[in-house]
Amino acid sequence: MDASDAVFFPDRHAPAAPLLLEQLPSYQSLLYRRKSSSSTRRRGSGRGRQPSISSVKWAEQKPVHSGEELRPVRELPMSMQEKRREQQQRLQQGGALSGWGVWSVSVRRSLKRMKEDGAEALAALQLWRADIHLIEGMFGTGILSYFSFLRFVVLLNFVMFLLMFVFVMLPMIISSRTAHNTTDSRTNVSECSVYPDTSRQGLVVFHEHITDLLSGTGFLERTYLFYGFYKPEFIHPRFTYNLPLAYLLSTICYLLLSLVWIVKRSASGFKRKLVQDEDRFQSFCNKVFAGWDSCISNETAARLKRSSLLYELKTDLEEERIKRKMASRTRSEKLRIYSLRTALNLFVIAALGTCFYCIYRATVFSQRKQAEAQKSMFLLELVVEYLPSIVITLANFITPLIFNIIIAFEDYSPAFEIRFTLMRCVFMRLASIGVLLFSLWVQITSCKQPEDCHCGYNHQVYPCWETHVGQEMYKLVIFDLLIVAAVTVFVEFPRKMVVQHWRCGVTQWLGQQEFSVPQNVLEMVYGQTICWIGAFYCPLLPAINTVKYVLVFYLKKVSLVTNCRPSTRPFRASSSTFFFLAVLLIGLALACVPVIVSIAEIPASRACGPFVSFQSSWQVFPQVISQLHPGLRSFLLALASEACAVSFFVITCLGMFYVIALAGAHKRVIEQLRDQLAMEGRDKRFLIQKLCQAQQVCVRSPQRFGGKRRNAGVCVQEPALLETQA
């Protein structure tokens, strides 16, 4: 009797029934792949989820249950020979295929091969594949998720740039090269349509060129970079290209494209998150069974992964203890905690309000100084130009520190602490952009004398306000890149040098740089939100963003590999991908608001840009529609009418309610099935016990079996093994 065979000891008192359980179909897949012995006991050399090729004596079912779907051979849990045998069997069962059948099978197979080869070639073309592989091996899947997110954002920006280039810039470039007639549809020449040339005249000092480069003024202002350069309309010899319409449509297009792409990418993560969010969330099981990252091949990384797993387990145990403590809180303690939390939240709101006010004042000051156009020192001029960016970056640096300190007093569970701090940081970053835009708009529409603003904006100071907004966005992007580069070079490298070579208390407490995934992701989302807002005013911004993120990739990779050690508090890969995309979606939603408001509500500047003849940018659409074929026009008008909109809304609501009800029903079914599973397990054990008892009665009755107990085969007690195992 092989002791290493499968044995089953459900209960110390019940007799063992190893063979009976082995015979069950559900057991087949679990047996080890061993050559079948010649004992009378059944040893399955073939085992599959379907008992198709088991050589079991009493498993006499037909190879394939009718109606059961055949899984591809490669997904069966068998050894290679058995899979090959299964494949042969399936081919034979296919019956004698006619010539057509054979041909179609071979065609299908070669198509599959071609698809696999194509997928492999495509995967080889993937950007930065080798680099990301290296990072994965050294730091695991948590940090890998950041870099693959970065790659996604680079691709998104590149596609946005292509969109704008093909539909907006290329026509302009072509028209400026070829002979054509342009119709300049400026019907009203008023004082609002005067666009003075702000390029520098006379002898230009070199550092002024640098200032211009860094802030988009001077020689950069009247280039493809900014909104103000694009003409309203031009006629090509053969057809008319309506540039305002193209401009507007490509803006809407890139916003929609980003939305669809992000949602598609987050769909799989979202599905998993829904499944996860059921009541019995299993943090311990997940860590024990799925905690070790098998991709790790580096000794240091393995050591760090081990310590991080240890840390995670200890944190979880700590969380359990805190949960128990929280459950046992008295009423007075609860009151104290809640009042403390309210006070701290008020403090947080006050801190945020202060930051926003600082940003507002910095923007106002910077705009005033720029409007005065005084020549001052190079560096001072640059600082004044970049003042809003500097203030925003400082605020985004200080507030997370404040939040981290505050959250320690609020007495939440560790997991909730992390999430709540992140939410606050997200809010801070995205709201600061909103405050900047708001303060810009206040400046643009502020008039000292009423006749300054009769065009809807201050045309004296801002003849072309869209270009101005574009310049501010451009400055934000450039400053962001400079800060990332500066921090990497001037903070992280020296820190590593200091920690490595000068060992004293302070430096060891400071420790080596940790790569904090959430903060880096927030920076990226911030940059991308600026890009989405700014691309309307500065069409080349996606291209600049692409280049910027390529540089950031290499900077971060070098910094990671040389300076950082993996965080002891790892960010879990699965939930983090969904988290990144969710935050990106929030950024997109927030970016849509200023763009939509400025397209629909704010009067376009009369002096420059494609929308000079329109009241607001949105007016392009009614004008185009009025020039369409009457049938098409009435169709489009009907689509936009109230009846259509209301019915569409109602149908969407109904669809949503249906899906929610379906999800609820599925959840209930899952609960029922889980209970059923538990019950079946108990039934099985009960039945086997009864069976064994019945068989033992038969065995014990001496008339039928004379002496040779061994041949009974079933239900032989092995008390020695019972004692050692159970």
Binding site: R34, R84, R272, A290, S294
Partner: protein, 187 residues
């Protein structure tokens, strides 16, 4: 695609492509890796299906497996004799199951085998303790180990027998978000 290689017949390569998740190139590369493990033992010509097994000690020294705390169990689960000596078929099978294209159900079956140290088709508390000790190199105190094992069984056990059968394990794995990405070795 006339790639003149003499290691396998075309028919063998086709069979490998059908039975694993690898392409032709990857299978040839795997053979190269397998040969590197024991150059004097593994022939370059597999057309007549030689019966060669590389011992466990050589396989667990592969860079992909070296740092894995469960490397012995992984190799044992795929070996035919249960001792960890892999033929080329087993070798390819192992990396196929651990590749990123293998479905979750297949990986769950093998993961269960790997974590079942005493080979009784149940993950009992002792198996869990061994798993945990291998994971953390015995740096948790015994009470903490005990607590973690108890909580893990409490979370996953459905039928109340204080150990995890395959049904329990599979149900738990289907809701473990990290499993697919961590139970994956790139070669």
């Amino acid at each position: 695609m006339g790639n003149k290689q003499t290691i396998f017949t075309d028919e063998q390569l086709d069979a490998y492509q059908d039975c694993t998740f690898f392409t032709r190139k990857e299978i040839l590369r795997l053979h190269g890796r397998y040969h590197e493990l024991a150059p004097h033992l593994v022939p370059m010509d597999y057309t007549n299906d030689p019966d060669v097994k590389v011992p466990l000690a050589l396989i667990v020294n592969m860079p992909e497996l070296k740092e894995n705390p469960f490397r012995n169990r992984i190799v044992e689960s795929f070996s035919e004799d249960g001792q960890g000596n892999l033929s080329f078929n087993d070798f390819v099978d192992m990396f196929s199951v651990l590749s990123e294209m293998a479905p979750r159900e297949l990986k769950a079956i093998y993961a269960f085998k790997i974590y079942d140290f005493n080979v009784d088709n149940y993950i009992c508390k002792e198996d869990l303790e061994k798993t945990l000790n291998k994971l953390t190199k015995e740096e948790l105190t015994p009470e903490e180990v005990n607590l973690v094992c108890e909580k893990a069984i409490e979370e996953a056990d459905l039928d109340g027998d204080n150990k995890l059968s395959f049904a329990d394990f599979e149900n738990m794995i289907s809701r473990a978000p990290d499993f697919l990405s961590t139970f994956h070795i790139r070669i």
